[in-house]
Structures are given as structure tokens and as C-alpha cells.
């Protein structure tokens, strides 16, 4: 398995850290994903990291160094916003829209932050842990031939 390290970055330093890494040769951002830790707030984290409800995880890839780095950023519930990586990696456009759509995290300065998978005008963000998935009870035919 290839080399891969995890960095915990504060939200304020997120853009600066990623810019640094890009200058160090991480040419590609392969993935941006959001996680809702609502029911798992006591997850293992390094001591200096204060757990928040949301986490945004960006995976960078260096083709020249053949290594990966994963950046985990804590995003609080009362202000679910984070800077966009669009201006460093245009390929994050769709990934960030997906996180916005399904997890409800707003990417500041994103050029077109609209829903991508769910229909326009959908309410709620399905991948949040407090989003009810609902249920469809099985409907049986009436016994007496009615209907």
C-alpha cells in the first residue's frame, strides 16, 4: 500500500495549507468528502483537535512523488462553511457541490454552489445523520374485494 498521511488542519488555515501542499507537488485533488459525526462525537482525534459535528476531508495526490495526503478539517454545526478549493483545483467543482447537496456544508466563493444530485428545490441534506430516511409500508389489498 502506498504512502499516505493524514493532516488535521484548522478551518482558518485550510486554504493556506492546501496551497502549500499544492506548491510542494500535490498536483491533484482527487476527492472531497463530508462526514457528519452527530452520533459519534467522541471519535478518536489528536489531543489538540476539538471535535466538531462535521468534517470535510480532502484527499490530495502527488503524481510526481507518488504519495497521498488527506486533510481533515473540523466544521462546526452552527456555521457549516469552509473555503472552496476551486481556485486551486478546478476539479473540486462537482465534488464540493456534492458535499453541499448531500451534507449541507457551504463552500465559500464556489462559482456555482447548487444541488447536483438531488432535485432543485429539495429540502434537507440526505447524508446528515438527523435526516430521516422515511419508510414505505407495504400496502395489502383489501379482503372484501373493495377498491
Amino acid at each position: 500500500m502506498s504512502m499516505s498521511e493524514v493532516l488535521h488542519v484548522e478551518r482558518l488555515n485550510y486554504l493556506a495549507t492546501v496551497t502549500d501542499l499544492k506548491n510542494q507537488g500535490y498536483e491533484m485533488c482527487v476527492d472531497v468528502v463530508g462526514v457528519d459525526y452527530l452520533t459519534n462525537m467522541d471519535r478518536p482525534l489528536p489531543e489538540d483537535v476539538i471535535p466538531e459535528r462535521f468534517e470535510v476531508v480532502a484527499s490530495l495526490l502527488s503524481l510526481s512523488k507518488r504519495s497521498r495526503v488527506r486533510i481533515r478539517v473540523q466544521v462546526p454545526q452552527d456555521d457549516p462553511t469552509i473555503e472552496t478549493l476551486f481556485f486551486l483545483y478546478p476539479g473540486t467543482e462537482a465534488m464540493e457541490r456534492e458535499v453541499y447537496d448531500l451534507m449541507g456544508i457551504t463552500f465559500l466563493n464556489h462559482p456555482d454552489l447548487t444541488r447536483i444530485l438531488m432535485p432543485e428545490g429539495w429540502e434537507g441534506h440526505p447524508l446528515r445523520k438527523d435526516y430521516s430516511i422515511g419508510s414505505v409500508p407495504v400496502q395489502f389489498k383489501s379482503v372484501n374485494g373493495a377498491g
Partner: protein, 455 residues
Amino acid sequence: MGKDMNDEAFEEQVPESLALVSETSEGPQELQEEEKTSRYELAAEFGSTLRLPEGIDVNPGDIDIEFADETMIINMGPQHPSTHGVLRLMMELDGEVILRTKPVVGYLHTGMEKTGEGLTYLQGPTNVTRMDYLAPLSNELVFSMATEKLLGLEMPDRVTWIRMLMVELNRCASHLMWMATNGMDLGSSSMMIYGFREREMILSFFEKVTGLRMNHNYIRPGGVAADLPDGWEDDVLSIIETIPGRLDEYDELLTGQPIFRERVDNVGIITAEQAIALSATGPILRSTGVAWDLRRDMPYLNYDQVEFDVIVGSIGDCFDRYSVRLNEIRESLRIIAQIADKMPSGDYKIQDKKVTPPPRMRIDESMEALIHHFKIYTEGFKVPEGEVYVAIESPRGEIGCYMVSDGSAKPYRMHIRGPSFVNLQTLPTMLRGGIIADAIAAISSVDPVMGEVDR
């Protein structure tokens, strides 16, 4: 429906009765008993009014079209036959020339990542295998590898080689399917027949091994579902003996053929810098001349023990992507031949009581085995807390699985980084400045699988 068709309440009782599940803006998702269900609700459930296409409420008079600059916006898809499923492209045209393009996706979204949070790790592959339905084994493999990394399991040798064999065969099948549809898109319908014919050989082999032609659920956390059947060597041998000759026929049919070359040469060009910036992987990145293949550059399974070449293109046009895929089939066959030589004997599942259910024979003799079997299939096995990202090379590029475990038997968060989803972003770059007829060739050359784009 069995309901009175003259139900006058149809129009009137729409809004109030529709507040059962507040989370959705499109009305309730639950049905009452049949007597209490109105026709509107039944109609909604049958899909005639629920999930209207976007823009149905738009009054054409409201659309602000500027006639002055003579550009026109047209929609291609989501039902266009050459958009490979339900891809919709909004294109801004100046005459026949494409200016801007916006891919609109989501028509096939079924919430598979949310579904995955409700399934145990053993049930997970049945879910993810349906994402990229042309390369189901890659999906299963990346899911299983992520789970095994969290568990800290090392697979037996034979499991690794079986997985490589199946995934490489799947790569051939997927690329052959692409050759078929690409030929079809560009007007060579005989290519479609040939592509499907060759793919059929591989699918028949899959059926023999896994029991299914698609959506196998064969690669699972802890190993594979079943050992290779007796005589598998003969089947594999006949595949690697037959297909190379057929590929040479494709060369004659397409590669050297002027009409085909006219359609693909210098069409849909993307540079290496653009492809890297747009996070494109797989044949699209390699067609620009970047020799990046996770099998070679970040080896997983036993890819460091087989010999193969990474195929690259030069200018990143549709023809380069065609030839990269065509020659990748040849390389895959080369790998398969080496795998068939090296296939060791041994277990096809890890002998770890925690994740592997006892064999069927033991269940008849031992109550403990029965309980153990039952527990693994109902409760599943617990996976240590942690988060992991695993990436492998699928036929379409880097497929990744980001998995978070909270220590229970179900993933806390399961995200698949679909290569098609990301690769679609290269389309506006490829199409810009080209003519609309070339759009067909370019869309086809991206090879999007909408099941994976929308998940």
C-alpha cells in the same frame, strides 16, 4: 389502479393531505391503506406526478433569451441515446460551434451512500457493485479493501490472485463494451455487435464463477464468495487466445479506417495540465501523455509481481482515448496470462473466525457453528474505529472508497469516489470550440457510467 377514475377530489385535495414526511419537498413518501388513499396519492406513488422533470413549471415566456448575440442554449439528454444513460448536457451554441457546456447529473441518484450506512460490511458489496455496473468487481474490490484495511487483515495469496484475475477480466469486458458503444455512437454498428460478442465470452466466465453476469457480489470483505470452478484454466485460456485476434480485426475495422479517423482525430482535445487540474484519471489522463496508472505507480494486490505496460496517448483527443483503451485490453490479457501461470493453491477466504462464516458442512454437525454462521449473517462483524481511503485503478480511472467506522458492524460513512463523476468535468473543456456533431464522439470517449456518477 382499481380506483374510480371519476374521483373529483383528484384536483382539490392535493396539498393538505401531503404532509406525511416533512423532509421531502415533493410530497409524502408513505402510503395509507388502500381505501384511504386518494387517486392523487396513488398517482404520486406511481411516479406520474412525483419527480416531475425539472423545469416543468417554467413558462417559456419567462425565459430570458438574448437574441442579440445569437447564441442558443440547447439541452442534450437526459434521454438522448448517445449520452450513455441519463446524462443531460446544457450547451451554448453559436451556430454549430459549442461555447459552454454544463453537464447536469443526478437523474439516477438513488442514495447508495446513505443505503450503505444501513448495511453491514458483509452486505456492503451488494450495494456498491451496482454503482459502476460495467465494472462491478472494481467497486466490490475497493469496498472490500477499505474494510480489510480497517480490520487490519492480510489476505491469503490465492484470494489476491483470484481478485486480480477477475478485476482484469472485468477491465477487458468494460473496455470491450466501450469499444462497442463507441462504434455505435460513431456509426459503426457492426463494431457494436463484435464488442458485445467478445464481452459475452468474459461474462459467461463470470457467470460460471460467480453465478451472475453483472452485480456479482463476488469479492467480499475477507476473501471471495467461492473458489474458481474446475476447469477455469481452459476458459481463461480460450479467452486470452481468442480476443487478441479479434482486437486485430478491430484495428482493421476502425483504427485504419478513414471515416472513423475523421470522426475522432483532433476531436475533443484536452491537455495534460487541464486533465490534472480537473482531477481526471484513467484513460482520459493517460491519453494526454501522463503515464499514471495506480496499478504501476501505487501498486495494490500483486500488481508489482506482473509485467505490463502503461499505455499513453500523445495529444489527448478522442483517437488517443480510443487507442489507450484498445491497447489496455491487450495489456490486461497479458496480465491475465501471467496470473493464470502464477495462481497458487490455498484458501479462497481468510481463515479468521471473526469475519469468515463456518463452511456449510460444519453447520450440520455443530450447534456452535450454526450460531456463529447466523450471527455473522444477521449482526455482521464489528470493525475497529477509524477512517481510511483506499484507491484502485478501475477501467475508468481512480475509484476510491472513503470509509469511516465507529466500531459497529455497519459503516458510519461510506463514500465512493467515482471516476466517471469526476471525469465528466472534462467535457466542457473537450467540447469548447468544437462542433456539435463532435460532441457525440467526445461524450463517448469520456466513457461515463451514470450509475456511478449519480450513485
